[in-house]
Symmetry: C2
Subunit: 355 residues, 2 copies
């Protein structure tokens, strides 16, 4: 089989897990799916089912690079690429693809978000292999998740004609739909959730970027022509000038031939505390609370607190209670997305210490 | 006027304000009515409207005596009486009355609980003077609060014939009623809440104790006869042998002539977080929260947290959120009394460090 690299996108600074997640310790560095393994470490561990550890690249921000390396002790330090400034996913993937192309332009690459949860890791590894095989034929490939509900929080991919036992032509990418359209998509059976995973030969992606994002393409060509010692300087100089554009908008929606592999491996994007509650181990009354918590008539709650802190929930239902050393959040589970409003309020106040 | 002493009963270790209140820092040592003045300090400050500071005695437990003296810097240290073991209110009042009788057996005494809140302090001082005047005539006097609602959490006193412009014979003491009886009491207009405040000449109370609690009376006679240096030794020896009985059951319900003074000075026994919320300064949406809290669609909440901690409440209603260094409580305001269940659970588990 062709040599397979993995590019893990780990530059996120999501706010939906505040106050657990912070600017210096975002979602992917936290063990939000339970246990003690940070989401990023789980992603890299799963990636090693298809790539050797030295072939796993992790792209993050300069600010997070030390913490990122710290949770990935098995990865060569130079495999953590630190962006001097966040420029969305197209520059991130382009840089990593150029790094890979210097080693082997025909290598296939899997691009994986750092902060998703996968329940069935064997099926996941199998699907990655299918997608990488398809990518080896020269197409750009994506994995679409078979929807289980009319979710309005995700983008969708419509499947076109079949290209083999497990692959379809991607007819179109669709932005987050309203409820009615989401129900139509679910009923149609031909729409998949956009998982944000992409697969391609390094050469294929670089060509697509040259065609559709020529400014970024020129920078990548400089990187390809430079001596390895010049990479850091070029990145530092060029990054601020690069377009702030996603790979979806900048490339995927513009290339003609995208292949989509439908999949069902217990995928969750862990989009907030409600998802974390769904994934968490829960007691008979559906509570997920720290060890030693006192729960009296509590039901459906998700509580977290620093080690050694006693949490007592009495007569409350479907509540998210997140306690940290310096901040405490209480919000109903079905409004957990509104934590963004708290983060916005703190930003407005200039209270950087709590972000 | 006769010399007036005050006896403040400050041995309580209530659990209804857990986790703010703890075994080593109970309710009366906390500023639960707002501001920074502990309830006990407020009580002593108000007492000095009728008694000189050197005539205010505070009875507490040995365990709390240092903390008690610390919040009462204006009181002579020897005025804090430390019980070696809790024995309810009869021994507590008896000991303090014997201390006062050694100075002046004809002095009048006010007995005040340490942990109540008084909104109208001028009216309160006036009522205390009326009650002390009545006590100077030789009766035991109590103050009854005119009820404003059919409260089932208090004992009641039924007023009998008038004894003057502001005093009635107390016809009977009634235990906490059920809802139906409480409504009858409220409608009748002749029932008052038992405030737990008592007024008497030192000599009168000692005689009543000798008559109705002879075991306790004998100990008090030993104290009266002993040299002052022997008081501590006698207390330490005798206290464990004393009856565990309240002044209400042991004395008040047995003496024939009790006078009750009806009063209305904005009294609250601060029986739990719901009362604290009622007394607290609140915002336009009825929240009482720490400075700097982020409140998004929150209403009717009572939140407390250590200084510097950020509290964010989103989309929650009528919730009590009490955060401390080592414990966190979340409970609906109308179930705040159930915090006792948490304390019971911790006691059962033997988790003394959180009590």
């Amino acid at each position: 089989m062709t040599r397979a690299f993995t590019i893990v996108m780990a530059g996120g600074s999501g706010t939906r897990f505040w106050p657990l997640s912070r600017a210096h310790r975002p979602k992917q560095l936290l063990p939000l799916a339970g246990g003690t393994e940070p989401l990023l470490a789980s992603t890299v561990r799963r990636a090693t089912r298809v790539s050797a550890p030295e072939d796993v690249l992790v792209v993050t921000s300069e600010r997070l690079s030390a913490a990122t390396r710290a949770v990935l002790p098995g990865l060569p330090a130079e495999n953590v690429l630190a962006e001097p400034i966040g420029r969305n996913t197209a520059p991130c993937i382009g840089w990593a693809a150029s790094r890979i192309a210097r080693v082997d332009p025909d290598a296939v690459c899997a691009v994986l978000p750092a902060d998703h949860h996968i329940a069935d890791e064997d099926e996941y590894a199998r699907v990655l292999s299918v997608a990488l095989d398809a990518a080896a034929h020269g197409d750009i490939v994506t994995v679409g998740i078979r929807p289980s509900r009319p979710e309005t929080g995700y983008g969708y991919i419509e499947m076109g004609e079949p290209l083999g036992p497990e692959a379809h032509r991607a007819r179109r990418f669709v932005e987050k739909p309203n409820r009615q359209r989401a129900e139509q998509f679910l009923a149609a059976g031909t729409f998949l959730w956009n998982s944000g995973m992409f697969f391609f030969r390094a050469r294929t992606m670089l060509d697509a970027i040259r065609a559709h994002l020529p400014g970024l393409g020129a920078t990548l060509d400089r990187l390809l022509a430079a001596s390895p010692g010049d990479e850091a300087r070029i990145i530092r100089e060029a990054y601020p000038t690069l377009p702030d554009v996603s790979i979806d908008h900048g490339v995927m929606e513009k290339v003609r031939d995208v292949t989509v592999v439908p999949a069902d491996f217990g995928w969750s994007d862990l989009g907030g505390f409600a998802s974390a509650w769904e994934l968490a181990e829960r007691d008979a009354r559906d509570n997920s609370a720290p060890e030693g918590a006192v729960l009296v008539d509590a039901e459906g709650c998700f509580a977290r607190a620093p080690e050694g802190k006693l949490v007592a929930l009495v007569g409350v239902r479907d509540l998210v209670v997140i306690d940290t050393e310096d901040a405490l959040l209480v919000v109903p589970r079905d409004r957990a997305q509104d934590v963004k409003k708290v983060v916005d309020a703190l930003r407005e106040r200039g209270e950087e210490e709590h972000l």
